[in-house]
Symmetry: C2
Subunit: 415 residues, 2 copies
């Protein structure tokens, strides 16, 4: 399928604008709020944290996604999570949405919210209000505005994360095809261990697509992208991924699971995977991305479980940091993934840019060239592959190494 | 019940001897093998790793516990795990057991084995043989011999772990009561995150008790002790806990679940909990023990899940290291434990030696004295308590903080 990467993020698609500001919520000397806006009402899909403890903005957004199903704006802040804040936290959401709605001339129930940061404290409503007001007056559809927004939502992230793609779909008026664009931004640096901190992701597209289909595609794609860097259930109180579609591209609206839906889903997969891998590689304190590909599994879900277990293992993460080819740890993490398999038949590989080393086969750790292993483990992306030899299903998970800096960042996060 | 702590470990109970030696398997300049022996055949119970990948000595021991049900000796080595070693690893077990059996004049199927260390390499059979031979000639029933054995099985442990208790049971001859002794040793320093490295535990008693009852008591007690420092399923390839009973105390053999069984079970619980807490506190790189007590849960299993989720959280561990009263992280870990509860009714406390601070109640993080919190978080044992306010079940889990040294130890474990 013709999914083509292009520059930009949330403002790449037609009709989407973004703004950012330094509201002084917790950080000083940097932007900490972002706003997205579409003059056209958007169909909206979303997936949210499975944590029993849900932050106020998660409760707010879920209600809109499930009941209203359309939206025009998103207001995000970094620094304070607005979680474990009780009724006061919900009141903050209502006020923020009302202020943004008034400033933008849209209904309050068209305003989605996102927060990331420390759990417990309430949001300073005066600063939020000032930020909303400032941003409503500085919205811009330039690519730069999208990039600035992706920077404003960072917490311990070291780089901003955005990406965009285009693809062709049949035109609504039947005259050939139109160019459709999809772009997104995300933040989340705590993915080194999956229960870390908040993942926020926002994807915009000018595609015309049925809301229920959008929601289906999003849930489907998330399983093999964002959820492959975050073990199911080990999610923060604030995790939120939203997809907004304003239909501006002029394509014939996608209303069923045909060829056009497949293209749309593929574009969404491309954007989600790119953002997810960026988050994994920017894990707190991380120096290297870890990619674990499990092939030859009997079921897709088992392949996912096995791959996730490896990238979630502290021992595997520490071993990649130390460039130590201690493959027994990968084997061990596969073994406690909750999947039955025969250790005597599986094969485990370290996959380098130029060469692949076999770590384990026939039930035994294999002799390998230690210098070569050190070389491969020094690459920016460390890739392992395991062939379960049980079937033809596969899955890939991404993580990063565990470093001194991770401990430093998380030993003193609040200050 | 009258369970009394006494000095000693695996040689505290009558009729048990221990030996140790420096076999040079991997470490230099320290003991790395231990042997336990009872001249009387012992009933034996055991629990083993749930990892799909099982080390050769685990396969060997399980067969004895399940089929033979008696034993007289245990041979343990530190440094190499004899895991992922295929048929050669099993052959090593057979040879080691045969050598020990010949040296001790007992059947090979009476010799239990244990290994801990790096996964992959084979054991150097010549050194193992020399070690077995040396130890068979230096067995001793002194408390010192037991202590030396507990030191010999250490890997990254910083302190040896042993404990012993006595209790009274009715005499076999009906003339009043006899004194029964139970003692144990364990190793395992990787419990900072539960999938770490090997937990080995050996408990000896001179109690006369039915083998099936012993097995039942062990499985029962493990759930609230060793398994509360190790999340279910997240176990190494080698985890082994063995209980040997030689009946030397002269008590009327415990054959059913009456009052005597309850005393025996309580003694076993006391020994297992003491060893488990020692392991948690000696986690790799750890500076402080974390205790999480969950009360007011609807079921025991939910209480266990909640407590384990908190002590397993990297964020909670890092926060304790940093003495940062970031209670939102505890709340978050409770929220993804896989247990339904109402965040608006639970209460969360930091329990100090002298004072208890309320962190969270009524759905909100509470204001608390930061200096007081810092003081409590600086205690050697950091204790949290959560009241779920759903019922009357409770459970306690133990862990330790996540430190720079953890990363250092695990970033370069093999060298």
């Amino acid at each position: 399928m013709m999914i083509k990467g292009i520059p930009g993020g949330v403002t790449a698609a037609a009709g989407f604008q973004a703004a950012h500001c330094a509201a002084g919520i917790k950080y000083r000397g940097r932007d900490d709020m972002a706003m997205l806006y579409s003059a056209d009402p958007c169909a909206v899909a979303g997936t949210f944290t499975s944590n029993v403890v849900k932050a106020a903005p998660v409760v707010w957004d879920r209600r809109i996604v499930q009941n209203v199903k359309t939206a025009q704006a998103v207001v995000v802040n970094a620094g304070i999570a607005n979680a474990a804040t009780g009724p006061a936290g919900m009141a903050t959401c209502e006020q923020t949405a009302a202020l943004a709605a008034a400033a933008l001339g849209i209904p309050a129930e068209s305003v989605l919210l996102g927060s990331t940061g420390v759990i417990g404290p309430g949001l300073p409503m005066d600063r939020i209000a000032a930020g909303v007001s400032m941003m409503a007056g500085t919205l811009s559809g330039t690519l730069e505005a999208g990039t600035a927004a992706s920077r404003a939502i960072m917490t311990t992230d070291t780089v901003n994360k955005e990406c965009a793609v285009t693809f062709e779909l049949p035109a609504a008026d039947g005259t050939g095809s139109v160019r459709v664009t999809m772009g997104g931004m995300s933040k989340g640096s705590g993915m080194i261990h999956p229960n870390m901190c908040t993942m926020l992701g926002y994807i915009t597209t000018d595609c015309a697509v049925d809301q229920a289909l959008m929601q289906r595609a999003l849930e489907d794609v998330v399983r093999d992208t964002f959820n492959m860097i975050s073990v199911d259930g080990d999610t923060s109180t604030n995790d939120t991924l939203l997809l907004l579609a304003n239909g501006r591209a002029g394509n014939a609206a996608i209303a069923s699971e045909g060829a056009e839906y497949a293209i749309f889903r593929e574009a969404l997969f491309t954007v989600c995977r790119a953002l997810a891998v960026k988050m994994a590689g920017d894990g707190e304190g991380a120096t290297r991305l870890i990619e674990m590909r499990v092939c030859g599994a009997d079921t897709k879900e088992n392949a996912r479980k096995l791959a996730r277990s490896v990238v979630s293992s502290s021992l595997v993460k520490a071993m990649v940091f130390g460039k130590d080819a201690n493959c027994g740890r990968i084997l061990c993490a596969l073994g406690y993934a909750g999947v039955e398999f025969d250790p005597a038949v599986i094969e485990l590989y370290l996959v380098g840019e130029g060469e692949t080393l076999c770590f384990y086969r026939d039930g035994c750790v294999q002799a390998f060239d230690e210098d070569k292993a050190l070389e491969i483990l020094s690459e920016a992306q460390v890739r392992f592959r395991c062939d379960m030899r049980m079937g033809d299903r596969e899955a890939t998970a991404w993580g990063c190494d565990l470093t001194y800096d991770y401990v430093k960042i998380n030993g003193d996060y609040r200050s």
